[in-house]
Subunit: 290 residues, 2 copies
Amino acid sequence: MKVVHTVREMQQIALQNKQTNQTIGYVPTMGFLHDGHQRLLQSAKKENDIVVLSIFVNPLQFGPNEDFDRYPRDEEHDREIAEQEGVDIVFMPSVREMYPSSLSVQLNVNNRTNVLCGRSREGHFDGVVTVLTKLFHIVMPDKAYFGLKDAQQVAVVEGLVKDLNFPVKIMPIPTVREQDGLAKSSRNVYLSKEEREQAKYLYHALQHGQQLVKKGEKTKDIIINEVIQFINSKTRGKIDYVELLTFPNLEQVDQINERVILATAVQFERARLIDNIIFEKNGEITITSS
Amino acid sequence: MKVVHTVREMQQIALQNKQTNQTIGYVPTMGFLHDGHQRLLQSAKKENDIVVLSIFVNPLQFGPNEDFDRYPRDEEHDREIAEQEGVDIVFMPSVREMYPSSLSVQLNVNNRTNVLCGRSREGHFDGVVTVLTKLFHIVMPDKAYFGLKDAQQVAVVEGLVKDLNFPVKIMPIPTVREQDGLAKSSRNVYLSKEEREQAKYLYHALQHGQQLVKKGEKTKDIIINEVIQFINSKTRGKIDYVELLTFPNLEQVDQINERVILATAVQFERARLIDNIIFEKNGEITITSS
């Protein structure tokens, strides 16, 4: 396994792989790898000749009051996981390497951002598409893997790639969960013991909403209210949002008549957790692991 | 020579060339090719295995009061020139092919735009970097060729490529001129006979400014005033600007102490002409043809 720190070296390696017809599977991360990332790496390994993992905590996608400085980092553990999953190249640039000076060109996301996390994280997705544009140019992947836990990110990145014609295929991978249902996340380490107990109910609440649809409920407001009550009765977290939108267009609906995402964000003491379920109009889940 | 109309086919051809280690030289144009474009194609031909020419009049880079609808087009003549210069692939997408729906991601240029043409063409360079981002993803060139007549465009595109890590090398090529000095331009056809006579004086005025520097003049204001007077005394065009800035950073100076660009834009009845000279602090011209 090769560890690369500079843009120049990474681009050279990518070009060499292109020239020898090796396909590149790419998993962009901010490190502190967990089972969710491992699932992405496993899919990338299965479907490509070369697997590139990038670890870069991107300052551009954190707001001024967000947790960039204390975002968890564990380089040694990340390298072990990368080795274990058969990663070929770990790309770990410094902030200075990625942003040597202020950017003369700015990317802004117009659509799919004024809902879910985008609403309360102004500029977050601008930072995401900017760093991914750079990383796609540096790593030159054939396929790039993203977890559906960040479903809005998947929707935004699919828009980026389609609208700007990146020669990259986006591969959305279902959320990996703890035994009790809690979605794996780097931020789970910040939960107190009591909060960790409660955190599983986010998923249970979403499942409750999905079950209502399975039983024939179609009205968004009824489903959302049920989910809100469920979360409030089971956790002391503060609900940031519970939303039900079309997927992947993330448009508002009153009645469920197509594939939708039911999503929530809940603020605990030191961690803001997000989770979602994507299902069809009859409540069935159809996006499953490869 | 192959003519390609769809994004998908162009990307497939580009990937095939990558896989066979053919380097791609790329000349993006809006068509109506003239000697300036031919010079770009000749450089691309010399330095690459495959030459791709794109012809696409990009609506995004025209303002609401600009000449998108009547921008000159001559597909047949363009094809002849392309054949003649040994172009391998002509990429001619429709507007619908390039912009099938509104873009979910927007590119904005922050630097180097509030001077020269950027000042009076709000959003112009946003349109330029957007279409070039798409075209670079579609054509996947190793080198892309741009004429220095649009020196601000060269500066902006160099910023785009550097800041977003495009794996493309930008090749700036000196302006090609008519016998009397007028810079070649697709818009020259809109000049009346009398205007065409006067138009040569834009370059003569810039040369006059350059000569002043050669003779020891260092003060921006003096040089600019001389150039303005020269143009006003020789033409009936309306001066949009005469500017002297550092190159390629396009920053303001009072005294000339480094490489600069002396540039002008003049509005004639039906055509707005631009021209520039780039020279060192001693007045010498050092960027020359390859």
